[in-house]
């Protein structure tokens, strides 16, 4: 039911969005370029200030640029510091249950404590 395959309804939504966005764009161009006097003579007097025709795109681009830096900063802030226990374990690992060891069966998947991992990696001398 949730496949991304093309459907007739999706084609109609897409076409309606396409027409709508073209309409919006032509309207934006008319509002930005056509002098106010011409618009007033047609009777259309209640428009936002033309200042916004330039200000809004600039705001948008600056927001996108700041967004890159912001995302970078948020990532750095969310990284656990070197002295936090989150680099060693977490809630799921603390609450895991030990399954009984069965002979000749593959051991159950579990989070191995860091001391054991260290001993396995660094201690044996070959």
């Amino acid at each position: 039911e949730n496949s991304p395959a093309p459907l007739p309804e999706r084609a109609i939504y897409g076409f309606a969005l396409f027409l709508g966005s073209w309409f919006g764009f032509i309207l934006y161009l008319i509002w930005a370029y056509v002098p106010e006097t011409w618009l007033f003579s047609l009777g259309l007097t209640y428009w936002p200030q033309k200042y916004w025709a330039v200000a809004l795109p600039v705001y948008l681009l600056v927001a996108v640029g700041i967004g890159y830096i912001l995302l970078f900063g948020i990532n750095m802030m969310s990284t656990a510091p070197l002295n936090s226990t989150h680099t060693i374990t977490d809630n799921y690992a603390k609450k895991q249950q030990q399954k009984t060891f069965q002979e000749e069966a593959i051991p159950a998947l579990r989070d191995i404590p860091i001391s054991e991992v260290n001993r396995m990696f660094f201690l044996p001398e070959k």
Partner: protein
Amino acid sequence: MAEERRFRSASGAPIALRRRQHSASCRELAVRGPRLQLRSLSAATSAVWLAAYGLFALSENSVVLSAAIFISLIGLIIYLHFVKIDQESLLVIGSLGIQLTSSYASGKESTTFIEMGQVKDVVINEAIHMQKVIYYLCILLQDPEDPQGVSEVVPLFQSSKPRLDCLIEVYKSCQEILEQRKTAPQSS
């Protein structure tokens, strides 16, 4: 018995590891970073003074020059006393505890002592640090309530940041002493 070996830090700077065995259950491991280089010191001082001279040429105010001298002196003193760590050492005494010492370039030494009852283990952990993944040695402190849990992580050698080969040497030395406390009789 002392031996010294050369290694590299995570950023490529040369560091030296000195291992001394005081007795069967007491070992001292010291990591010495590179000393303050004369060329970096003169480069920094010349940069600050050139910038101050440029400002003086623009503003014709001689306070800029004396301020630059003052700033570079104060900055150098603060750097030597609070930032530049020359040597970090780890003294592991089997039945007593672990002592961490950081010696600054100005001669200041700051020590931390962790008693053996609180030490769960000394491990090499990997973590993300400033867009890099580094290995670092850390002491895991025991959680009083939960015998399997870790209450705190104390990272070691933070300023010299040795690479994995140096860390493995330190790890093996520490583990030899920490293993003794399992076989030794428990003392209250």
